[in-house]
């Protein structure tokens, strides 16, 4: 039971870390695109 709970917690943490990674990568891409558009006078 305790092992199951530990596995479940590990899975949740891993999923959260992955989501955070995607969000950070998304932010980098977003800032890049905004910078390009603003520099081109958009």
């Amino acid at each position: 039971m305790a092992a199951e709970r530990r596995d479940e917690r590990e899975r949740t943490t891993r999923a959260r870390n992955r989501a955070l990674l995607f969000v950070l990568l998304g932010l980098v891409a977003l800032f890049y695109v905004i910078a390009i558009v603003r520099m081109s006078g958009g």
């Binding site: 949740t12 959260r16 958009g42």
Partner: protein, 301 residues
């Protein structure tokens, strides 16, 4: 794995990604995004499509941030209401501090990005919307007065105005007309819900109108607000941002909305209130869809 970060709450597995999404109130967010987008499309002028997408994203994130902070503050009353007790905070899946921190980070992020990428008028309006929802509605009015959702409803009415300001850089009459539609739509929408959830609101100590003034008075006010919506929904036509086809359809929809309020007035059961609540969502969606359609079709549909 005893050295896991201390994010687990009350012996649970810690908040999952889905919980973070849930505290952003995605259903409310979808309506906010849609009305904000309509404000953006209807506004005179041009905004680069990428910046328009960023503006919509910021409106969505700002709305989500407000929702997260609202869930943090209201976790005590959410725990006693059947409709909200499964939310991540009352269910013990998320730490209150996590929700507050998440909401604050998103709030600041959305305002700063709106300002840097789009313009600072839209950013200020977004900041005002978040502050209004958190401080005026959630913290001040919600637990104190039955007029909570009348005044607090302004927070939900800001998104089309923000969309408008994102394009024009100021607050135009057209944006204010869109604001007014949602502002006057909110009371009958929420009171329809509170009519059949009155017991839960009473248990939670939230002074919704049916709890304080009774169902008869609530139904009377709902009917009055649907009548006010007649001229208000025609305002975009009178201001020249929508054509006569929109006006005819909007009048028809308002007639139906008033019809549902009359049914609620006559009906002693919860059934018509539930129907009115469902129809109110459809009503707002259709009014804004018509505005969009009218604009895209140039009033020729």
């Amino acid at each position: 794995m005893s050295d896991l970060p201390s994010v687990a709450v009350g012996g649970s597995q810690g908040a999952a990604v889905g919980d973070y999404v849930q505290i952003l109130k995605p259903r409310v967010m979808s309506l906010v995004v849609f009305t904000g987008l309509v404000g953006l499309v209807l506004a005179p002028g041009h905004l680069h499509p990428v910046l328009a997408a960023v503006a919509v994203l910021c409106i969505a994130v700002g709305a989500g941030a407000s929702g997260a902070i609202n869930m943090w503050y209201d976790r005590d009353i959410d725990a006693v209401m059947r409709r909200t007790m499964a939310r991540p905070l009352p269910a013990g899946r998320m730490n209150p501090g996590e929700a507050l921190g998440f909401g604050c980070v998103l709030a600041v992020w959305s305002v700063v990005i709106m300002g840097l990428a789009v313009n600072w008028v839209a950013a200020e309006l977004l900041a005002l919307t978040i502050a209004f929802y958190v401080f005026v509605y959630t913290i001040w009015l919600k637990r104190r007065t039955p007029q909570n959702i009348v005044i607090g409803g302004a927070a939900g009415a800001f998104p089309p105005l923000i969309g408008w300001a994102a394009v024009t850089g100021d607050i135009g009459w057209g944006g204010l007309a869109l604001f007014a539609i949602i502002f006057f739509w909110t009371p009958p929408h929420f009171w329809a819900l509170s009519l059949y959830r009155a017991g839960e609101y009473e248990r939670a100590g939230v002074p919704m109108l049916p709890v304080v003034s009774g169902t008869r008075e609530t139904k009377r006010q709902m009917l009055l607000y649907t009548l006010v919506l007649w001229p208000v929904t025609l305002a975009p036509w009178l201001l020249g941002i929508a054509g006569p086809a929109y006006a005819v359809c909007a009048a028809g929809l308002s007639l139906l909305f008033t019809g549902t309020a009359v049914q609620v007035w006559r009906d002693g059961t919860d059934r018509s209130a539930r129907q009115m609540f469902q129809f109110s969502l459809l009503y707002l969606f259709l009014i804004f869809s018509l505005l969009l359609l009218d604009h895209v079709g140039g009033g020729r549909w």
